[in-house]
Amino acid sequence: MKRLLFTVILISAAFFSLSAQESEGTFTAEDVKYDSGGSVDLAWNLPGLEESQTLEIYRVFNGSEGKIIQNKDLSGRFTDRNLNLKGSYSYVLRVMNEDGTVAKEIAAGPVLPVASWFSMKRAIVLAALIIIFYLITHYIRASRRGIEFTIRKIPALESVDEAIGRATEMGKPILFVPGIMDIDDVQTVAGIIILGEVASKTAAYDATLNVPVSRSMVMSTARETVKESYLKAGRPDAFNENMIHYLTDDQFGYVSGVDGIMAREKPAAIFMLGTFYAESLILAETGNSIGAIQIAGTAMPSQLPFFIAACDYTLIGEELYAASAYLSGQPHMLGALKGQDMAKLFIMTILIIGTVLTLLFPPVGAWIINVFSNIG
């Protein structure tokens, strides 16, 4: 409530100062505080404008003058952005008569649009980051202290064993497509983690694994992950580095390559886990045309409809990240997942409380909405 009181006092003070010099009109320019620099707040209030007069505001920066505003608003506010942080700016307001002569001129500034140590508008992001960081680490520590965390059934992951088993019986290869983005994309990282689990199963079942990749870093990471899974499964001999091979970085060059592999080698099980764009449907439809079991997963909302329509099982958004915890059962992964659930609960409470507050106390609600909406 302190903040609210403070703003009320500020507005009334500004109002009084304005009315003092009613006659001549005011024009002020100040640096925007607590921001990332480069912006100046302009405010003007004029007693009156004849029909024919227009108002023009010029920005003066090391000698040259440029018009930035031209309209007929008697009073108004405007923030001039992306200015040079080290420069000094001054502004001139001119009321122009129809014949181009200057009826009135008010100058403001000079002003230095400096960056401050912390941008207030980003405080909410810092708060949210700290809360999520605490929730995730708290539950990871809890799981390390031995507290058991269960995970609900995810249908798509129940069928991983079934799919690999079927492929082995039919003596056909298993195709794993880790998406078309690089290892720095966290969906690809989730895909590679799941590849590790799938590889330990293909090692145990002695099935042939084929992993065409579209990025060279994904190739090297996937090779190391699969090698480790084969070592852990006690089958170092079955591992061959060329199971994971690079095609091309281009989205559709890669797709036509993978389609060719599907048509020629006819894998019985296809995994598509990672980041996908428009090529998702081409892969899923070609995979379906050769009658393979398809398990897909991505957090790209635009591609989920196609996977859901064309594949047997689909991991939707967050389920892709939960899959690694589900398959490996490692305590720290289950703990982090519990932390994510708590963060979701936190978001839901904010939504409910925010709505109630906005309905009951509109000004408080408006402040909340403002804090969440204009960040930057």
Binding site: I124, V125, D249, G260, A322, Q340, D341, G354, L359, F372
Partner: protein, 225 residues
Amino acid sequence: MTMTFAGAIGIFLAGALTLAIFSFLYKDNPVYKFAEHLFVGTSAGYWFVYNYFNVFKPNVEVAWKEAVGFWDYFHVVIPVLLGILMLMRLIPSVSWISRWAMAFSVGMTVGLNTITELETNILKQIGATLSPFASLHFNNGGLGASVNAIIILLAVLAALVYFFFSKEHTGGYGHIAKVGIWVLMITFGASFGYTVMARISLLIGRVQFLQTDWWVAIKHIIGLG
């Protein structure tokens, strides 16, 4: 449109490759295999040339020539060193050192994505869900918008419940999760239907190319041939 002979040959080739790709719809065949491998090679080459001119030349070659003072050289040498470390992946005995370069790029994107996702996909979405409630009124025409705002809020909450992992979807809680997956199914059905037009217009573009440019090029070649 003035058509040179070389231009006609080029467009003819483009049309032929277009039909080669379409042939995959019938069945995998040598012509498609040729076009596929041609595309794998050309696209890999294109991306290399594109990156050389847009990344390597300005930030390394030009930066090195114009470098003055320690820091300018520093900002060229270090990334190139990291890049060479990445190439060490090709030499098995030393390949482990490429992890340093990989670690750098994973750190870069984790740092960037964590903030942008938090700001754009969580905080701003909360703001957008709450903001219609600020101007909620049930009279004169505001009814539709208000009802929609409430439906959106409830649908978002139900769908979030579906994404809960630490509790089995059973009992009353399970029903909310079921409503949640229904909301998601409506969402995915809607975006599937919405994008069908975009996919069809891709085909329209290719058919118009074949019917106009390619046809003109063939007549041009035959006319002269």
